[in-house]
């Protein structure tokens, strides 16, 4: 038995040594530009991270099929940052120390971004995210960029929309994540600024599935509207469904999560009429339609279309800058290029980056969820009412 145990140890502990041992050292290939990718491939942000990663791979495949960047191929080195600071740091160090990467696309989670960003800033490594929305990232440094609109802008647009609709008091419920709390906080700040009142606020941890007691408390305040901020689509849909089951007939406002594909499936007809502030692809943008169709053909599904487009555009923007710098080790050149560039792509026309690396030139739109009978893949279950009002 003892000998068997020894063999077991050998098998299960030595095996990884052998696996690592057979890894061929990639080395630097002069015919390839190597770009790092850090996404949440597992953990709470897995849905966003996977879509983002796949969209990037789609863009890279297209670029390489078209002959690469002035003849040089583009290669992604992907690492899982798992949506938390510690794993983001180990992923970052692996990319920079082992793979000698200077340009990283990602991350998809704000917590992971905020964990690795100080290192990137200190090392002079570019971090370029298409999904992280926490407003704090604006202050993360000179090498940190993103094409995602931050929660503060979403909050302003949400506050303005509610006020514009005649809402003067709200009750809110938010998932306890940086994203959802950020959306709620920014929205209520703007709403209060405009003269509105917040009757009651509730928060819940991510694993909650029954919101009836919190909703009962919120609905008892007779606020003009209910504001829902969630991180997970299932959660957002469940809250809407349970609010309607409790007899609430007033307006419900939310973010993109509350009107996502899964959320609408969960809520069913209860979601009809829900208004949300989202970033959405322009249906008149042929590039956007083409990218979504290509994504669907390659992966047999489509979700989170705007974020998909954002991640896709990040690769093309990076490729454009590589054309100028001609060096994947030149992070300073990439930084300068990003500050100067104006881009038209999947998520919008003529957008650029401000002095904090924040995207400018993109805006949110207000949408309203359609009845179940009118929902389909093309309209994604809602109609766009127009750009968010400016007050």
């Amino acid at each position: 038995m003892r000998a068997l145990s020894a063999r077991a140890i050998l098998l299960f502990v030595l095996l990884p040594v052998m696996v690592i041992g057979i890894v061929a050292c990639d080395g630097d290939d002069d015919d390839t530009y190597r770009i790092g990718v850090m996404e949440s491939l597992t953990g709470p942000g897995e849905t966003y991270g996977t879509v983002s990663n796949q969209a990037k791979q789609l863009a890279v495949d297209e670029i390489n099929a078209a002959g690469g960047i002035d003849g040089k191929m583009l290669e992604l080195v992907v690492e899982d940052s798992k949506c938390n600071a510690q794993d983001a740091i180990t992923a970052y160090n692996k990319l920079t120390d082992v793979d000698d990467i200077k340009i990283i696309l990602g991350t998809s989670c704000s917590g992971a971004m905020l964990g690795a960003a100080p290192l990137a800033e200190a090392d002079g490594v570019i971090m370029f995210s298409g999904l992280a929305t926490n407003p704090d990232i604006a202050e993360a440094g000179d090498y940190i960029f993103r094409t995602s609109l931050n929660d503060a802008q979403l909050g302003v647009d949400m506050g303005n929309t509610m006020w514009d609709d005649g809402v003067r008091s709200i009750a809110s419920i938010a998932e306890s994540t940086d994203y959802a709390e950020g959306v709620r906080s920014a929205s209520t700040d703007r709403f209060l600024e405009l003269g509105g009142t917040v009757e009651a606020e509730e928060s819940f941890p991510s694993d909650t599935t029954d919101f009836r007691s919190q909703l009962t408390k919120l609905l008892a305040t007779d606020a003009d509207a209910l504001l829902v901020a969630a991180q997970a689509e299932f959660t957002g849909g469940t809250i809407v469904k349970q609010a309607r089951e409790l007899g609430y007939e007033g307006p419900i406002y939310g973010d993109i999560v509350v009107v996502g594909t899964t959320a609408l499936e969960v809520a069913g007809d209860a979601a009809t009429g829900v208004k949300a502030i989202i970033t959405d692809l322009d249906p008149n943008n042929t590039k956007a339609t083409e990218v979504v169709n290509n994504f669907r053909s390659k992966y047999d599904y489509v979700t989170l279309q705007w974020y998909l487009g954002s991640a896709y555009d990040d690769v093309y923007i990076t490729a454009e800058c590589l054309k100028q710098t001609k060096d994947d080790q030149d992070a300073d050149g990439m930084r300068d290029c990003l500050y100067d560039i104006t881009w038209s792509g999947t998520i919008g026309e003529n957008y650029s980056f401000d002095e904090k690396g924040e995207v400018v030139g993109l805006s949110n739109v207000v949408i309203e969820v359609l009845p179940v009978s009118e929902r389909n893949d093309d309209n994604q279950g809602y109609k766009v009412l127009g750009p968010a009002p400016i007050i």
Partner: protein, 348 residues
């Protein structure tokens, strides 16, 4: 807790290294393999990434050694450790953070800007005090019920970190946690930080070794084997259990302080129950009631987890998921063939 003692020491004169290896001496093989593994990893992947891995190892190892005092030596299966780890991390983060939160557009908290070495003792003391208070209650429970109440503590801790927004900023997290300063030298280099983390690990391991080899440690072992018998012999078992519980919590807070200083940003996602369960897995993987086993377990876990980043034959999109699956399968197989862990003499 059922125990098993598969003795591996030889009767009479101890044979040499090669015969012992040839005879399938598991402990020796495990040590040798992990050592070779570490060297191979450093050689293949470079010193830079090895420093990162070393720091992650040091933090997990401090946690594993401290938890082994409670689980392995005293027989209290606890998943509460992540809470004490979090208390240490948040104490250091809150007391040392230099960010002017009024400039950020999210939640603000007061800042104190204390140095790391002033904040760490506060975190250790706070974790100890918390452990003392909850320990008085926990002392009433044993076995399965103890697991459940420790589970409750882990959940409560996480929710406190998440919802006490006036102190912790909740989900927004705390930025700019200070690096340690010794004299005028800021330990902002990765290598310097690794050295300090290893020094902390050495101190914690030495203290743990001192405890388990003392008469105090022998009483703990007696409690694990038969609490009633220890009590009959006149030992105040509740006092002993409470003492080791508090010491262990304070050690976990050291790891927490190091963790938040190293990452420079923390949010509640780092203190979820899953991390606690992984920690228990590390302790069992390395072996119960062996300090060296905890070090070996932590190293094996970190090398497994991070080594998976280098699997060459998987498409990038599956690498993340594959790491989780392979790690899980290997832990299951190891438990199947070696339930007492790599170096353990006891099993749950």
């Amino acid at each position: 807790m059922a125990t098993n003692t598969p003795e591996t020491t030889e009767e009479g004169r101890r044979p040499g290294l090669i015969p012992r290896l040839a005879n399938g001496n598991v402990e020796l093989w495990a040590n040798l393999i992990v050592l070779v593994w570490v060297i191979a990893f450093v050689l293949w992947q470079g010193v830079g990434f090895a420093i990162t891995i070393g720091t992650v190892f040091a933090i997990w190892a401090i946690l594993a050694v401290s938890l082994n005092l409670v689980i392995g030596f005293t027989g209290l299966l606890s998943v509460a450790h992540i809470g004490f780890f979090g208390i240490g991390a948040y104490s250091v983060a809150i007391l040392t953070s230099k960010t002017d939160y009024s400039l950020l557009r999210t939640e603000g908290i007061p800042t104190y800007e204390l140095p790391f070495f002033a904040a760490l003792p506060v975190g250790i003391a706070l974790a100890g005090l918390t452990a003392l208070v909850v320990g008085v209650v926990f002392n009433r429970f044993r076995d399965d019920v103890f697991v459940l109440v420790s589970f409750g503590f882990a959940i409560i801790s996480f929710n406190l970190f998440l919802n006490a927004r006036a102190i912790t900023r909740g989900a927004f997290g705390i930025h700019d946690v200070a690096r340690p300063v010794i004299g005028t030298r800021v330990l902002d280099g990765e290598l310097e930080f690794l050295v300090m983390a290893l020094v902390c690990l050495a101190l914690v391991s030495a203290l743990a070794w001192f405890i388990v080899t003392s008469s105090f440690g022998r009483v703990l072992t007696a409690i694990r084997e038969d609490e009633q018998a220890a009590s009959v012999f006149g030992y105040q078992v509740t006092h002993y259990k409470l003492a080791i519980w508090v010491i262990s919590a304070m050690m976990a807070a050291v790891a927490g302080g190091l963790f938040s200083s190293w990452t420079s940003f923390i949010d509640p996602n780092s203190f979820i129950l899953l991390e606690s369960i992984l920690l228990v897995s590390i302790v069992i993987l390395g072996g119960l009631a062996t300090i060296w086993g905890s070090l070996l377990g932590a190293m094996t876990f970190v090398l497994l987890e991070e080594g998976m980043r280098f699997i060459p034959f998987l498409p990038d999109v599956y690498v993340g998921q594959a790491r989780q699956v392979v790690l899980g399968v290997m832990l299951v197989l190891l438990m199947l063939f070696r339930p007492q862990g790599l170096l353990g003499r006891y099993r749950l």
